[in-house]
């Protein structure tokens, strides 16, 4: 199959570095160019000697490289609509970051634009390509624990705001400045906006949609942030399954401007764990473990050195298959809409201190 000629826009998303490796290594992709959001980002990119041209304007990049077929939107959430419009206009296929937008009108506009242009728009929810999740899905499908009654899931990480400042800016992350609730100095746009995976997983595993959510925001463990970093969510699916989710930035970090070794203070910087009870039993899952462990450089702290399988192999396989064979990705904008709607309802619940139905 002919490799897809692909570019990256903005370079400000937390997964950008992962794409450098993927676009270089994956034989199904031919990395043509990037455009940087600002000069600082450009300088960091160029210091990596990737051998790929970097432009300061997306228009210039597209004009100079008319051969580009697809784009990774590695940008702040606030940029996504405009970039989707730009790509669709040029007939370019899109690999979207995990939050297309929190504005549901904008979201519907994105669906319309993509449908009209007839391009592929795959949302990057990499847990779908994780082998532990594959096993989990199989065990549930095979009836190992019977009908699911309850799911508890964590998607907890360190905070990326020091390296990717837009994730701490309400307008850039959530799309606008909305106070969390009366009398609270914080705004929507923090940890919740970084962690859609467990909202997606509970829908995928139960094959049901979320009925209602209740969410409580806790005191920040990083008081200087103007967005939330600690919160809890519980609620019920339409099939009756109850759930409890933790999408917090509960693992402390060194405030590095460029992520690298020694970023984590807590040994494990990122965790997706689940406990699922069914009417025939229960199971517990660590999607990113076991690993290897050390207390070497640079900070001599006990640290998890991850060993999990590269989820971007499956993600790119699907993207290439969809682009080349005219298929719809399973994680498309329409599928993901319910998860984004549920996350919005979590913010509404925080504001109202009441459960909120979808």
């Amino acid at each position: 199959m002919k490799p897809i000629k692909i570019a990256i826009m903005s370079l400000t998303h937390g997964h950008t570095r992962k794409y450098y490796q993927t676009l270089k290594d994956n034989p199904k992709l031919n990395w043509m160019a990037v455009c940087a959001d600002n000069e600082e980002v450009r300088d960091v990119f160029e210091s990596g000697n990737h051998g790929v041209p970097c432009y300061m304007s997306s228009e210039e990049m597209f004009d100079r490289h008319p051969e580009i077929e697809a784009v990774v939107l590695a940008s702040a959430n606030i940029e996504h609509l405009q970039q989707i419009e730009q790509c669709a206009k040029r007939g370019l296929h899109i690999l979207s970051m995990k939050i297309p937008t929190f504005d549901m009108d904008e979201y519907d506009r994105m669906i319309e634009i993509v449908d009209k242009a007839g391009v592929v728009c795959q949302v990057e929810l990499e847990m779908h390509y994780n082998p532990v999740v594959h096993r989990l899905k199989k065990l549930i499908k095979d009836g190992e624990i019977g009908k699911i009654l309850s799911i508890q899931a964590t998607n907890i990480t360190l905070s990326p705001v020091w390296a990717f400042p837009w994730q701490g800016v309400p307008e850039d992350s959530y799309g606008k400045r909305v106070p969390l609730r009366d009398g609270d100095h914080r705004f929507r746009g923090g940890a919740l906006c970084d962690h859609p995976h467990i909202f997606d997983l509970i829908r995928w595993l139960t094959e049901s949609d979320i009925d209602f959510v209740f969410s409580d925001v806790a005191p920040n463990i990083r008081p200087e942030l103007e967005v939330e970093d600690m919160l809890l969510v519980n609620g019920k699916m339409k099939d009756g399954t109850i759930f409890l989710l933790d999408p917090s930035w509960s693992r402390m970090e060194e405030r590095l401007k460029v992520p690298g070794p020694g970023w984590e203070v807590f040994p494990k910087r990122m965790e997706v764990n689940l406990t699922i009870s069914g009417d025939k039993g229960a199971l517990i899952v660590d999607c990113f473990g076991p690993n290897v462990y050390h207390n070497g450089g640079p900070n001599d702290r006990y640290t998890v050195q991850y060993t999990y399988f590269d989820e971007w192999i499956g993600l790119i396989d699907e993207f290439v298959d969809c682009v080349r064979n005219g298929k719809q990705p399973k994680i498309n904008l329409k599928w993901h809409r319910q998860s984004i709607a549920a996350m919005n309802k979590c913010y509404d619940s925080i504001q109202q201190n009441q459960p909120v139905h979808l």
């Binding site: 039993g281 690993n291 290897v292 050390h294 070497g296 450089g297 050195q305 399973k330």
Partner: protein
């Protein structure tokens, strides 16, 4: 994309060869040959040894920690591998751990001293050519059906690394189920050839490496000869109660 679930490592190997346009073929041995210490890949009429543990991510990452300077001035490797006699021989366990010592340590064995309890257990102290010490503890005394237990620890002037998390003694898993049928655990490490157990994943990945990077074949076949000699040297050490020096090359073993 259709999700695949493999139960046969040779079908999984063919999937990888087709996917990555590797125009070679081979067959991974379905049953291990008794005198062999590892799985093998038959290419034409030739059996080629595989060193599958080198494809296991935990060992790859331990090697990264050694090579990228996360650990500084390494002193000692402490390796352990205990299994059931139904699934492994003592020679096979020693063979694997010796290879891991040389591969992760980044050099060859200089000398060794081994003590044996017949063909059931062996405790070996090894000196590598770069001065590192290694202890290798092997036993085949686990009961039939018990899952193998291993542990690999690297101790340095700066840092300790291990494939076992602190305060645990047995390998952890990714998923544990608790049902009326008892409890089970699962560790899946490869989404591309999902469905195979860890050993089969490693063998499949090793076979794919040999077929896609043919220079690996020669290197691994040579290492196989060397490791067999190291296993023999350990036995000789145990028999004679003498240190065996291995630093003059293969002939002196």
């Amino acid at each position: 994309m259709k999700d695949s679930c493999f139960s046969d490592k040779n079908i999984a190997l063919k999937h990888l060869l087709d996917k990555y346009d590797v125009d070679c073929s081979g067959v991974i041995s379905e049953q291990e040959i008794p005198e062999q210490h590892s799985a093998s890949l038959k290419i034409g009429n030739t059996e080629n040894v595989l060193l599958p543990w080198r494809m296991e991510r935990r060992f790859m990452e331990l090697k990264v920690l050694v090579e990228n300077g996360t650990l500084e001035n390494i002193s000692t490797l402490r390796f352990c591998n205990i299994s059931s006699a139904k699934t492994a021989t003592l020679d096979k366990l020693i063979y694997r751990e010796m290879d891991l010592c040389e591969w992760i340590g980044g050099t060859r064995v200089k000398s060794l001293f081994a003590v044996f309890s017949e063909a059931s257990a062996a405790n070996i102290i090894i000196k590598l050519q770069n001065g590192m010490s290694c202890s290798v503890e092997c036993s085949v005394m686990l009961p039939e059906g018990a899952k193998p237990v291993d542990r690999h620890e690297i101790i340095a002037e700066r840092g300790v690394a291990s494939d076992r998390v602190v305060d645990t003694q047995v390998p952890q898993s990714s998923i544990y189920t608790f049902t009326n049928n008892g409890s089970e655990c699962f560790t899946d490490t490869d989404a591309e050839i999902f469905g195979l157990d860890t050993d089969s994943v490693n063998q499949t990945r090793a076979a794919f490496k040999v077929l896609s990077e043919p220079e690996t074949m020669k290197e691994w076949n040579q290492q196989d000869s060397r490791l067999r000699q190291l296993v023999d040297a350990a036995k000789k050490s145990g028999r004679l109660e003498q240190v065996i020096h291995c630093n003059d090359g293969e002939k002196s073993l």
